[in-house]
Symmetry: C2
Subunit: 116 residues, 2 copies
DNA sequence: GAAACCTTGACAAGGTCGTGGTAAGGTTGA
DNA sequence: TCAACCTTACCACGACCTTGTCAAGGTTTC
């Protein structure tokens, strides 16, 4: 069997076996499977699990946050929409005048939603 | 009083007054305040509330997801770390050989965490 | 001054997140 | 074959998310 089984992987990564299954369920780290269905973690996965763990604790974010970031990363549609909404915040209405601002917002909005 | 009060804003945006207070609490849309402390929503905020509403329902994301995106947007440290973790997933170990891959991962990891 | 609004704070309740268990059953290896 | 492992499927629990409602009290406006 190529790779570590779930409890071995748990020991070397600091996650519990339970959480390894949960992490897989979120889609963030999915190990290969043996013929009988056993999870098999390779070196790359183990490293990803370790770095993931540090990422979470260093910034105090949740798995769901990283999962959302992943979702944005492979859905340009979602990523662009969120980014556009966020960027609109940066501009101040004073900079452009309320009317222009509103028109700008509305047009961008329509453009983005028109993709659907 | 310049701007709409909370129930007026609720009517024209489709949010409930309760949710408008909650949205403010997440930091995503913060209206100005009158001398007496009344929330006053201007045209820009009203538009942001409308687009936010559509963003959430179109992609079925939560306020907390957008709040996390906002957090990433103004913390380059967090954004880079998440992005780096996510990008590592794209590369396949096969492309570089397991050993190089592992070394690459570890170095990137150290580099990113060294910032702290 | 009274009706109609606003404020914050609390209680409530169903949903998801993060995590641990336990049970019933299949796999592996000496 | 038998111990030690693995699987999925559940129950449980506290914490947080999203919403609503209600109470106690200040503001605005006629």
């Amino acid at each position: 069997m190529e790779g570590l089984t779930i409890n071995e992987a748990a020991r070397t990564t600091g996650w519990s076996a339970r959480m390894l299954r949960y992490v897989e369920q979120t889609g963030l780290v999915s190990p290969a499977r043996s013929a009988a269905g056993y999870r098999l973690y390779g070196p790359a996965q183990l490293q990803r699990l370790r770095t993931l763990k540090e990422l979470l604790s260093r910034f105090d974010v949740g798995l769901s946050d990283v999962a959302f970031a992943a979702r944005m990363a492979d859905s340009p549609d979602l990523r662009d929409s969120v980014q556009a909404w966020l960027e609109a915040e940066a501009r101040r209405p004073e900079d452009v005048g309320a009317e222009d601002w509103l028109r700008f917002e509305q047009e961008k909005h329509e453009k983005l939603l028109a993709v659907a």
